[in-house]
């Protein structure tokens, strides 16, 4: 038995992986919702068990072309629906700092792999915070770039207008190095074709703004580290000011309406026909057959979002919910743009609390879980690049600091990560194999 298998038995970060000796210039993993030849791609859903895609997602293809060795597919909440990776059909990844706690989600396996494997870079995907949340809980660096920066070709969709492929690593410099590899226009994804090139040299971050609305409802443990982090930023020569961004409070309802509406159309294709699980009762009519499959193999959260999204798309409700949510998104973008006329980035804690224990998660309502994302949703809704860096440890658990910059200004975040790393003492978790 290899070390990798032993490690995975402890942390459950991979849903599938190869024992083969890595033979690339570097080793990477990809979230299970990125399609890849040689591996099953199930997006954390039992309904896709056994599905082996005939093509590589563009980001995976680019990593392989750059000499990368794809080691495995990382565990995640089913289709990205969750904050703790507890909604996976294939086990739950465990936080390397405390096995009773969550890795965060939905790219929980990716953050775990970045934390426990040496010299490892993990591709993650963010829709509403699914890169920065687990990066924060697992104490690694993680960036979700501007919407459209990285091709989504081969990404099994959650919410097409929100999904972004990004990078997680224990090393700050990796974010820029590998983001540049996977970024760029791809004719297979028209939404990637409007991007300007990334500048060759990263610009320095000179000033940040803290929205007053974003620091209400933060746990004391996190707040202590956040305030200390602002001091560190000042000592790095970065101006820190406080701003009002009152429309941020509308981000969460708008996000869930848009995400659920789009998700409910994306999930329509999964029905036990053509790919994935197909062991149903063929004597049924197609409607009954599809229903039996979807009832059996979708998890509760997937079903909840299909119901929510189907409702918000119904005639008479579309204007009240979906179309209104699109307008809210526009006004939040404008609010951010206003702030960015005076500063390079907005800074907040990444998550309002440190990673919760699984018994605490079991007692949370769906709404409690949705609310946990209130800091990560605004930048995701606007399609703006955002990044989590580790900023301290509370009771031994990592705390994350999140930066958001204007569209296409990833370079400002990348330079800040490298600068931050110079002054931050990272405590890697003890990994048992």
């Amino acid at each position: 038995m290899t070390d990798l298998k032993r490690i995975n038995d402890i942390y459950e970060m991979y849903t599938s992986f190869t024992d083969a000796e890595p033979n690339g210039k570097f080793t990477f993993s990809a979230k299970d919702n990125l399609t890849s030849i040689d591996f099953e791609s199930c997006a954390g859903s039992k309904i896709l068990s056994g599905y082996r895609p005939p093509f590589d997602a563009t980001p995976i293809k680019k990593m392989r072309e750059a000499g990368g060795f794809l080691q495995g597919k990382t565990n995640m909440d089913e289709f990205g629906f969750g904050t703790f990776s507890a909604n996976s059909g294939f086990g739950i990844p465990k936080n390397p700092y405390d096995l009773n706690r969550s890795c965060g989600g939905s790219s929980g396996g990716a953050a775990c792999a970045a934390a426990v494997l040496e010299d490892h870079v993990a591709l993650g995907v963010s829709t509403g915070g699914s890169i920065v949340c687990p990066a924060s809980f697992c104490g690694v660096y993680g960036i979700a770039p501007s919407y459209g920066r990285v091709s989504r070709y081969g990404l099994i969709d959650y919410a097409n207008s929100l999904d972004k492929v990004g990078v997680l690593s224990a090393k700050a410099a990796d974010l820029g190095k590998y983001l540049r590899i996977i970024a760029g226009k791809d004719e297979h994804d028209p939404t990637s074709c409007v991007q300007p090139d990334m500048p060759e040299k990263d610009r320095a971050m000179k000033s940040v703004a803290v929205p007053k609305e974003a620091i209400e409802g933060i746990s004391d443990k996190v707040m202590t580290h956040f305030e200390a982090s602002l001091e560190s930023l000042r000592s790095m020569g970065i101006d820190v000011e406080y701003v009002d961004m009152p429309v941020l409070k509308y981000a969460m309802p708008a996000y869930y309406v848009i995400a659920a509406s789009e998700a409910s159309t994306n999930l329509a294709r999964f029905c036990g026909m053509r790919y994935g699980q197909q062991d149903g009762d063929l004597s049924l009519g197609f409607d009954a057959y599809f229903t039996s499959f979807r009832s059996k193999y979708f998890g509760d959260e997937a079903k909840r979002r299909i119901l929510l999204g189907t409702f918000t798309r119904m005639v008479g409700y579309a204007d009240r919910y979906y179309n209104k949510a699109l307008r809210v998104r526009e006004s939040i973008i404008q609010e951010y743009k206003k702030v960015f006329t005076n500063c390079d980035a907005v800074v907040t804690p990444t998550m309002p609390f440190i990673s919760p224990r699984f018994d605490e998660i079991a007692n949370m309502s769906a709404l409690d879980v949705y609310k946990a994302d209130f800091l990560t949703i605004p930048p995701n809704l606007t399609g703006m690049p955002h990044m989590s860096v580790p900023c301290g440890y509370s009771d031994g658990m990592p705390v994350g600091l999140m930066f958001t910059s204007d569209h296409w200004n990833e370079d400002v975040l990348l330079s800040a990560a490298v600068e931050w790393e110079k002054g931050f003492e990272m405590k890697r978790p003890e990994v048992k194999a």
Partner: protein, 442 residues
């Protein structure tokens, strides 16, 4: 009676609407498919520009208002041949709205013209088994929706036939093959309407509407109520049957297609030049050249190249000469004519017009050029024929006067010439010669 149609026509692009699979070629089921047109998880669409251009051409031909921007939408429904279980179509911003189609003197209003992808094809192979072929999945379609301005099944058929001629001419749509027209037919004789889905071909459209008109009338007469419903047409039995109850457009839960952007189509639309339709051309020939409408239609339906040759002859000679020779000898020998020799043909008629050759010689040389037969052979045969006709006209001089009032008067001489020559000449040769020889005596 009110009838409105939703007409689906496959657009003749080389590749599919959202991927680069070929639209034609191998017929083996599921041989022309890729992750995108199979809707595999992770696949994404990218729009075929040619499909947009063809759709815009049709929208323009139908006189639609074309917006500056357009986008696509997802129409969600579950059916095995729809691989993503949503159809990428257009909902709130179609490529064309508020057009008009002239059916004779009547206006048929066009509600909208939009683009969408075709689903795959389901083939039932037993009571409990069906197979799906996705070769058709993703082929671009244009959907044309009319207002309920059509007032009879026969008019619906005529409208469809003429509309298809217009579309074929506008975008070089092949006339045959699998690219047949499919219609959803909406019809009401009272207040509530029924929709008969997916009727293929002109004859079936007429038959299904006829059946549905009778059914609705009978139901109402018997004191029954027409319920709004979707029906299907059984081609074998020529009856419509209930399909699904109470389905409204809005039940499809449309949202914008987030994988595709917003497309600026104003400039593309403005740069598209539309060709005159054959029907418009025939109308113009009658008003511009005084050609009678029957002959004008005959020219454009024989061939658009013949129509073009006619207009060149008008320029090279004059209207009268062009009409005589186009509707006469040239039409008669069109089938064997190699169109690349048209300049030669025009110069022969021009010689006649300049007076350097006579009718008979012109006729022989035209025929020789168009049929490839030797002029000598034609000359002696024609000489004989003309001698016979001359004799007949001399003996029946009143025919020339009668012809002035009604060209059908020539039929008498034609009949006598056919009888007298006993099958030695083709009827078209005789018709042409008699007409020409009467006209020279006018």
């Amino acid at each position: 009676m009110k009838i409105g149609l939703e007409i689906h026509v496959q657009l003749p692009t080389k590749t599919k609407m959202f991927c680069s699979c070929p639209t034609e070629g191998e017929d083996r089921p599921n041989s022309r498919v890729c992750p995108t047109c199979l809707g595999l998880p992770g696949s994404k669409p990218s729009l075929n520009r040619k499909a947009v251009e063809l759709g815009l051409t049709i929208a323009k031909v139908l006189g639609c208002t074309i917006p500056e921007q357009t986008w696509f939408s997802r129409k969600t429904y579950f059916y095995p041949d729809l691989c993503k279980h949503f159809q990428t179509t257009q909902y709130d911003m179609p490529i064309g709205e508020r057009g008009v189609y002239k059916l004779g003197n009547k206006d048929i209003r066009i509600t909208r013209v939009h683009l969408e992808e075709d689903p795959g094809k389901t083939k039932r192979v037993g009571d409990n088994t069906a197979l799906v072929d996705y070769n058709r999945s993703g082929i671009p379609l244009v959907e044309i929706v009319t207002e309920p301005d059509i007032s009879s099944p026969a008019e619906a058929r005529q409208f469809l036939a003429e509309l298809l001629v217009t579309i074929r001419n506008a975008i070089d749509l092949p006339a045959d093959g699998d690219r047949s027209v499919r219609c959803d037919c909406n019809i009401s004789v009272g207040k509530e309407r029924c929709e008969v889905k997916n009727v293929t071909g002109l004859k079936n459209v007429e038959n299904c509407l006829k059946y549905e008109a009778v059914r609705q009338t009978k139901t109402l007469k018997a004191g029954g109520k027409i319920e709004r419903e979707t029906r299907r047409f059984d081609e074998e039995r020529k009856v419509t049957l209930p399909a699904r109850k109470k389905e409204y457009e809005a039940d499809y839960g449309y949202i914008g297609e987030p994988d595709l952007g917003i497309y600026n189509i104003g400039e593309i639309a403005a740069s598209i030049k539309i060709r005159e339709s054959p029907i418009e051309m025939a109308t113009r020939f009658t008003t511009q050249y005084g050609l009678d409408s029957g002959k004008a239609k005959q020219i454009v339906t024989t061939s658009l190249e013949l129509a073009a040759l006619f207009e060149e002859l008008v320029k090279a000679t004059d209207v009268k000469t062009a009409i005589t020779w186009t509707t006469g000898a040239i039409t008669a020998n069109w089938k064997t004519f190699d169109v690349s020799k048209k300049d030669e043909l025009i110069s022969i008629v021009k010689e006649l017009f300049n007076g350097s050759i006579k009718d008979t010689e012109c006729s022989i040389r035209v025929k020789a050029l168009m049929t490839g037969k030797s002029a000598d052979e034609l000359s002696s045969a024609a000489g004989d024929l003309e001698e016979v006709i001359n004799g007949l006209i001399d003996a029946n001089l009143h025919v020339v006067d009668d012809y002035r009032k009604n060209p059908k008067a020539a039929n008498m001489i034609i009949g006598m010439a056919m009888k007298q020559t006993g099958g030695a000449y083709s009827s078209s040769d005789i018709v042409e010669a008699v007409t020409r020889m009467i006209e020279t005596r006018l």
